[in-house]
Symmetry: C2
């Protein structure tokens, strides 16, 4: 149970905590001190204690954190047990890479359908997920209210497709198009994936090392 | 010119500044105040001023920042003009999505080759980039010293391929495999792309909105 409201900075770090705790759990670790957890994550013990202070009941002086309990608590806060559904818009290379290789269910999402305009792929089933024609999106969303849309369409189609998702009632968009979507005021949340930001950080680190 | 060493937290934000300044530059904006830049980035004017204090000569009381100059300075610091070269390891869906759709050159990287084991693709040229057999990686790196490897191989091949890149002299690895690579002590920097972290943040935001 939460003791206090979790700050947004902590929220952005929670997925990393979840990932590290899952690795520890898989490795059979039952409990871990804040300093050991910090070391494995490149953080100080005091940063860890501060971040996780809202989960105080799982961290005790001289005991540390119960790995499985803390992982479960973080999972609850992240909404991983809410039964979110998701569809993919655009089954090109990136859409298919996600569809075939990314484990949506491990993040609590059930992937129910994909949409594309390519007749070579529409009507097929990829990794158990049916691919429908993009023109049938509205009809699908009426029949199957959906929590989240993965936007992997070409840039030129990004804003129009996002608008259709918003009107179709999705709650969130996972945006891979590198376009700033115009969904302000709709209440729909957008999580942008910017590959270039990540590559530029790497460019900096490589350049510093030269 | 830099006035002082740039902190690592600022470095992680520099790509976002670069992206926003590029958008402003494309839109024809010549100068911008710290409060306007902050507003477009969801930061306060004082955070902006603090972050960019090491670029003081471009920010002046009553003038703001010269968009193009600040963008150029950030580009230099990020190492975008160093002529980095890159190769892609694994030309499956994700590798091909990057190869065909991602503009490496806009981040200062020249993509020179891709490697795979699939005979259906080895020997072809995709978006101007030759695809070689993975067994020829060492020979290629000897003849063409390369700055960075994009790791999009299957998980089972991740660590072995990373080791070959390290021994082949790359300076950095852009890691899409979701494996924590064992390159400690090699001096090679690794930038991990964790799709699940991004999705879990979205899951949190969707769940809070419900």
């Amino acid at each position: 149970m939460r003791k206090e409201k979790v700050s947004s900075a902590v929220i952005r770090r929670l997925p990393r905590y979840y990932r590290h705790l899952s690795d520890l759990h898989l490795a059979g670790t039952e409990r871990i001190s804040s300093s050991a957890l910090g070391k494995s994550m490149g953080l100080t013990a005091s940063q860890i204690r501060q971040d996780l202070s809202c989960f105080g009941e799982f961290g005790q002086q001289g005991y540390g954190y119960n790995v499985d309990k803390l992982r479960g608590e973080i999972s609850d806060i992240l909404g991983m047990n809410r039964g979110h559904t998701a569809i993919i818009l655009g089954a090109g290379n990136l859409g298919r890479a996600l569809l075939e290789n990314f484990h949506f269910e491990r993040s609590g999402f059930q992937l129910t359908a994909a949409f594309d305009v390519d007749s070579a792929i529409v009507g097929r089933t990829l990794s158990g997920v049916p691919v429908y024609h993009a023109r049938d999106l509205e009809e699908y969303l009426r029949a199957h209210p959906t929590g989240m849309g993965v936007l992997t369409v070409p840039r030129a189609a990004a804003d129009a497709t996002a608008g259709r998702l918003v009107r179709g009632g999705v709650k969130g968009i996972w945006n891979f198009t590198n376009i700033e979507l115009s969904v302000a005021g709709s209440g729909v949340v957008v999580e942008d994936v910017h590959f270039a930001d990540s590559l530029l950080s790497l460019s900096y680190m490589i350049s510093e090392a030269l």
